[in-house]
Symmetry: C2
Subunit: 679 residues, 2 copies
C-alpha cells in the first residue's frame, strides 16, 4: 500500500464552521425564495452535514471538476439542489449570480442537479433513489480502477464516494437493491450520509415508513452509525469512522430538523417543497443570528474558502506530482489510465471483430456474446454484467486480461454479478459511465427493460455512453408466455429521447450495432437480440453488413434493382427474415419488391435527407412493415397506404413457432394481409 496523500485540510474554528453552515443554509433558502420555487427544507437541515464534509473531508480540484481522482459527492436527494449550488459556490464553481438564476432557463442552476449544466455536479438527480444507486456504480468503478492501475508505490486512484440521501430515497426499491449490492461488494469507500428528518411530503415518516433503517443496513452488511446531524463534531467523527472502515460501505444516519432555523416551519412538511416566504425567511435569519441581507456570504467565510481552494489545489498538485512519478515508472500503465479516463478508444479496436460466415444459424444473442468477447479482448474498459441472466443473455466477457467476476476484496475483473436487481443495475452502469474509466453495459431479458426504465431515461438524458443489452426480444420467447414476451418494449425504448435502439437482423448486423454503440461517446444505446437462431445472411447476395450503421438500408439491392420496385418491405431484427420470405414469394408471383433492413430508426433519422429518400422513396407507397411488436413508432414510415404486420395484444405461452403462427407472424399470414390490401 502506498502512503496516502500528505496534505490534510485545515478545519475551520467551531464558530466559523457554524457561520459556514448558516451561509449554506441561507444561500439555499434565498435561492428558493428568489425563484419562488424549490425546496428549502433539506438544505437548511443538512447545512451542518455539508459543512463538516466540505471543510474536513472532501478532496476536489476547484479548477478541474473532471479530475479522475476527485472525491465524488452525489446529492441523491436532488430536490435539495440549492444546497449543492451553495456548496459549489463556496468551492468556486458557481458565482452568486449563478445562484440568483436558480431554476431559470439558461442558468447553470436548474431545479434539480443536471450533469453537464453545472460544473461540479456529478450526476443528474431528482428522481428519488437515483443518486444513491449511481454512487454504488461510482464507488465500484473506483475500486476497479484502483485494482487495474495502482501499484504498490502509487495509489493514483484512491478517492471516496459520498452520498447525501434523505427519507424519500430510502423508501425506494432501487436503493435497497443498490445497498444490498454495495454491502455484498464491501464498498468500503462509499460513505452515505442519510439526512433523516423524518418528514415527507404527506407528513411524518411515521405515516408510511417505520422500519428500523439502521438494523436493515446492518443486515445488508453496512457499517452503521447514528448521530445528531446538527452536531458538527459528531458528523466529522462519523465520517472519520466511515473512512476508517475499509471492509464495508458506511451509512451515517444523521437525525436532522427539516427547515432548521425557520421558527414556524422547521420540523414540518410545509418546509419541504415551497419557499419559506419572506417573513419566515427573515425570521429564520434573525433566529440564527445572521444578517438579513440576501445571498450573503460573510467575509470570514469567503476568506476561509479562498484559503481552502488553495489547499484543494495543493492536493491536486500533490497528486499531479505523484502521477508524474508514476508515469515515469509505469509509462504504459499511466497512458492507459489517461486513455480510459478520457473515453478515447484503443487504436484499431474494430479490427478485433471477425465477420460471421454466411449460412449458419446463429441467435443474435449468441452473436452478441461473441462480438462482445472480441471487442472485450481489445477494449479492456468494456465491463458489465447481467441481472442474474448471463447464461441466457450471453454477456460474460471471457477474453482479455482480467476476465474474472469482481467480488468483495477482488476488484480485478470485468464481469459483475448484479443479482436480480435490474433497476439498480441500470443506475449502477450510469454511475460507472459518470465516474469515467469504463464503458459499461448491462443485460437482462428485453421485457424486463420495464424494471430499469428510469435509469435508462436518465442515462439518455445525461448522454452517457452506456449500453443496455436486451435479449429474448420478441414473442419467440415462446413457452415463458406473455409476462416474458416483449410487445411494447421496442416502442417504449424508441420513445426515449436521445436513446438509440438497435435490433440487428443477423450476426453480422450485430457486429456493426455493437460498433456504433461503442463509438457513441455522447449517448446511450440499447440492443435487442433474439433468443432464437437466425440465418446469417449471405452478404455476397445481400448488401454489406456495414450498411447497418446507417440505421436502415436496402438489403436485397442485388436481387432487385431499386428503380423497378413496386412494393417496399421494411423489417427489423428477426422479422427481416420473414420480410425476405415475403419478398421471395411476391417475386414468385412476378412482383417487384425491395426489402429494407431497419436495425436502428434513430440512426437512420440522422442520415442525410438524400440517403433517407433513396431508401424510402416517396413514390413507393405500398409499404409493408414487419415487426414483432406494436405499430407505434412505425406509422410515419408506413404512411397512409402501408400495411403493418405486428402485434396488438400481449403474447402467448407455447412453443415459439406455434406462438408465431397463432399470432400471425408467418409467411401465409403476411401474404393474406397483402392480399387483403389489394396490392
Amino acid at each position: 500500500m502506498a502512503e496516502g496523500p500528505s496534505l490534510v485540510l485545515q478545519p475551520p474554528s467551531p464558530e466559523l464552521a457554524r457561520k459556514i453552515a448558516n451561509t449554506l443554509r441561507f444561500l439555499s433558502a434565498d435561492q428558493v425564495q428568489k425563484a419562488n420555487s424549490g425546496h428549502p427544507g433539506l438544505p437548511m437541515g443538512s447545512a451542518e452535514i455539508v459543512t463538516a464534509l466540505m471543510t474536513r473531508h472532501l478532496r476536489i480540484d476547484p479548477k478541474d471538476d473532471k479530475w479522475i481522482n476527485r472525491d465524488r459527492f452525489v446529492l441523491s436527494a436532488g430536490h435539495a439542489s440549492a444546497l449543492l449550488y451553495s456548496m459549489l459556490h463556496l468551492q468556486g464553481f458557481l458565482t452568486i449570480d449563478d445562484l440568483k438564476g436558480f431554476r431559470q432557463i439558461g442558468s447553470r442552476t436548474p431545479g434539480h442537479p443536471e450533469v453537464g449544466e453545472t460544473p461540479g455536479v456529478e450526476a443528474s438527480t431528482g428522481p428519488l433513489g437515483a443518486g444513491f444507486s449511481m454512487a454504488v456504480g461510482m464507488a465500484t468503478s473506483e475500486r476497479m480502477m484502483a485494482e487495474l492501475f495502482n501499484t504498490p508505490k502509487f495509489d493514483v486512484i484512491d478517492h471516496c464516494t459520498y452520498v447525501l440521501t434523505g427519507d424519500g430515497c430510502q423508501m425506494e426499491g432501487t436503493v435497497y437493491e443498490a445497498a444490498s449490492l454495495a454491502g455484498h461488494l464491501g464498498l468500503g469507500k462509499m460513505i452515505v450520509i442519510y439526512d433523516s428528518n423524518s418528514i415527507t411530503i404527506e407528513g411524518g415518516t411515521s405515516l408510511a415508513f417505520t422500519e428500523n433503517v439502521a438494523e436493515r443496513y446492518h443486515a445488508m452488511e453496512w457499517h452503521v452509525q447514528q448521530i445528531d446531524g446538527h452536531d458538527l463534531d459528531a458528523i466529522d467523527r462519523a465520517i472519520e469512522n466511515a473512512k476508517a472502515e475499509k471492509a464495508r460501505p458506511s451509512i451515517i444516519i444523521a437525525k436532522t430538523t427539516i427547515g432548521k432555523g425557520a421558527p414556524n416551519k422547521a420540523g414540518k412538511n410545509v418546509a419541504h417543497g415551497e419557499p419559506l416566504g419572506k417573513d419566515e425567511l427573515a425570521a429564520a435569519k434573525a433566529a440564527m443570528g445572521c444578517p438579513a441581507e440576501d445571498f450573503y456570504v460573510p467575509k470570514d467565510v469567503a476568506d476561509y474558502f479562498d484559503v481552502r481552494r488553495g489547499e484543494w489545489m495543493a492536493m491536486r498538485q500533490e497528486w499531479n506530482e505523484m502521477f508524474s512519478a508514476f508515469d515515469k515508472k509505469h509509462h504504459a500503465t499511466a497512458r492507459e489510465l489517461l486513455r480510459v479516463a478520457s473515453g478515447e478508444l484503443p487504436k484499431q479496436w474494430k479490427n478485433a471483430v471477425e465477420e460471421f460466415p454466411a449460412g449458419k444459424a446463429v441467435a443474435t444473442r449468441a452473436a452478441g456474446g461473441i462480438v462482445m468477447n472480441q471487442l472485450g479482448a481489445v477494449i479492456p474498459e468494456l465491463v458489465g454484467g447481467a441481472a442474474d441472466l448471463a447464461p441466457s443473455t450471453k454477456t460474460d466477457i471471457k477474453t482479455g486480461a482480467n476476465p474474472e467476476f469482481i467480488a468483495r476484496g477482488a476488484f480485478l475483473g470485468r464481469n459483475i454479478h448484479f443479482g436480480v436487481r435490474e433497476h439498480a443495475m441500470g443506475w449502477f452502469t450510469n454511475g460507472m459511465a459518470l465516474h469515467g474509466g469504463f464503458i459499461p453495459y448491462s443485460s437482462t431479458f428485453m421485457v424486463f427493460h420495464d424494471f430499469m426504465r428510469p435509469a435508462v431515461r436518465l442515462s439518455s438524458m445525461m448522454k452517457l455512453r452506456n449500453i443496455f443489452v436486451y435479449t429474448h426480444d420478441s414473442i419467440m420467447v415462446g413457452e415463458d408466455g406473455p409476462t416474458h414476451e416483449p410487445i411494447e418494449q421496442l416502442a417504449s425504448l424508441r420513445a426515449v429521447p436521445g436513446l438509440q435502439t438497435w435490433r440487428p437482423a443477423d450476426a453480422n448486423e450485430t457486429i456493426f450495432a455493437w460498433q456504433a454503440m461503442i463509438e457513441r461517446k455522447n449517448g446511450s444505446s440499447a440492443i435487442c437480440l433474439s433468443r432464437q437462431n437466425l440465418p446469417v445472411l449471405d452478404r455476397t447476395r445481400y448488401a454489406p453488413a456495414r450498411e447497418t450503421l446507417k440505421g436502415m438500408y436496402i438489403v436485397d439491392s442485388a436481387v432487385d434493382a431499386e428503380k423497378a420496385a413496386e412494393i417496399l418491405i421494411i423489417a427489423s431484427g428477426s422479422d427481416l427474415h420473414l420480410g425476405l420470405a415475403v419478398a421471395a414469394k411476391l417475386r414468385e408471383q412476378g412482383r417487384s419488391v425491395r426489402v429494407v433492413s431497419a436495425p436502428c430508426l434513430e440512426a437512420f433519422r440522422a442520415q442525410a435527407e438524400g440517403y433517407r429518400k433513396k431508401v424510402l422513396p416517396k413514390r413507393l407507397k405500398k409499404r409493408l412493415v414487419i415487426e414483432s411488436g406494436v405499430i407505434q413508432g412505425w406509422e410515419g414510415i408506413l404512411g397512409d397506404s402501408g400495411v403493418f404486420i405486428g402485434l396488438e395484444d400481449f403474447g402467448l405461452s407455447g412453443p415459439a413457432d406455434a406462438v408465431a403462427e397463432k399470432l400471425g407472424m408467418t409467411l401465409p399470414a403476411a401474404m393474406e394481409k397483402i392480399g387483403q390490401a389489394g396490392w
Copy 2:
C-alpha cells in the same frame, strides 16, 4: 370477535404426507419434461412446503375459485408454475390432461401463472417480485373488508394471504418496498414462505446476495422464522406460529435444496430452468422411492384429496351458513358486501358528479380531486393513495363514510399512504383489484410512471379495473426541470396493450374520463392531469363534455361547420387550449378550421368506423397535431401531410411559460410551423 370456523383439516399421516410431496414433486417435473421447457428446480424443492400448506392450512372452495373469503395463495416465484398446477390438480381445479398440456398454446397451464387462464390462479406472476408485492395489496384488502363488513358476531371476511417466494424475488426492489409497507401496516395475516435454496441462474446466491434476510425482515417489522424446508412438521409449526402472530406479517425462511431428489442436479443451478432430462428424472423418482410412471398420482393420495375436497366444501358450507345468518341480521351490509365483491357499481353513481361551470381556470389535477371526491362519496369501494405526493396529485378522498387513512390496526378507511414506493404501489393496487371488493387507484407524478411500469403492464394484461392517476403531465411542470417533465410517457403509456390512457383537456373532460375508468370493469386505465390551471370550456359554445367518452370528438363544431373545414387541429389535454388558440388565429386569417379534442386514443379506436371517419375525414389532409410529448403514436393520425407540434428532446428547468416558449409550445411557434408547411 366472532368464533373462528369450527372445522379443521385432517392432516395426512407422515407417510402419506411424504407421498403427497413426492406426487407434487414429480407431477411438476413430469410437466416440465413433457413440455421440454420450464423450471423443475423450485417445484421439487418446495414440494414439502406446499404439502404442509395445502393439507393443513389452506382454506378454499374446490368448486368456487372466486369465493371471496378463500385463503389466497400467490406463487411469487411464478417460474415454478408446474408446482402450482400440480397443487391445483390435487385441489380439483385441473385435470391430468391439463398438466400434460403444460406450456402449450390453448392449454390451461401456461408457462407462468396467468389469471383468467387457469382456475385457482390468484395472480399472473413470473416477473420476479410481482406476486409478493401484489399479495400485500390482497392482505390489506382483507383487513379493510373485514373492518368494513365484519360484526362482533360475524367474521365474514377472515382469510390468510399466503405467498411462496424465492431468492430472485427477494433481491427485487419492489419486494423490499412492499415488505416495508406490509411491516408498517402490520399485516398479521400475510404469511410468506421463502424457499431459500441459495441458487440463482448465475450460480449460488453467494455470488450476489449475501445480506442477512432474516435480520432485514426483522428490521422491517416482520415476524421471522427459519426452518428446514423439507421438514413437514417444522413447516406446519411455522405456519401455525405465523397464524398466531397477529400484529406482524410473517416470513418463514425455509432452507431447501433446489431440484430435491434429482441425484445429479439437486442443489445446482442446472436444476433451475430446464428439464431434468429423462434419465435424471427417472433416477430421481427411483431415489425418492416413487414409481417411474409419468404423471402418477398414487391411489391413497388421490383418495386423501377426495376426502379433502369434501372437507373444503364443508368449510365453505359453514361459511355460507354464517353468511346467511349475517344476511338475516345485517341485510344491507351483507348485500353491500356482495355488491362490492361482484364489482357491480352502486346505482346512479354518475349522478354524484356535478359539471364545472365554464370560465374558471382549474388544473385538471384539481378537477380530478374534486371528481374523485364526488365519486368517492357514493362509491365507497373507490380506495387508493399516492406515493407521498397526495398534496400535489390531489387524490385524498375526504368524502363518504370512512375518509380516513388506514394504518396499523386501523383499517377502516379508504386512503393509503404508500410512501415513496411507486413500484410497490402499482403492484399493491393490482393486488387489491385481484382480491376483489375495491376499485383501487394510485397516483404520482407522470414522469414517475416509469418507476411502476412493470405493474401497469401486468395490470393491463390481467384486465384489472385499476386506475393510475398521473399528474404534472407535461413540461408545464416548469422549474423542476427535465428529470420531472414527462416527454415520452404518453407514448409509452399508449404502447401498453389494452391500457386506456386519458388526458382530459379541462375539468369537465376529467369527469367523463373518470366515469369511463370506473365503468371499465375488465381493463386498466391511466389518467394524465395538468399541474397548471386550464380554462373550463364553455360547453354552450363547444361540444358537450360527454363527448369525451368517445375518445376523440369535434370540440368546436358550433363554431365551424364540419363540411367546410380545411384544416384539422387535433390536440390532447392542456394542449387543446393551444389548439383552440391556433384555430382562432387561423379563422382571423379567413381559414376554415376544425378542432378535435383527443382525450383517449384507445377509446376512439373502439368507436364505429363511421364515427371515426366523421371526426377524421380522409379528405382532410392538413392535420395539425399538438401534444407536449414525442410524436410517436400520432403519425398514423397525422398522415403523410400532417404537421406535429410537440417535443423531440427532454425538457428544461424554468418557469412553466418560459419553458413552453423556449420549446415552441406557443401560438407564435405553432403559426410559424403552419406557415412553413405552406398551408
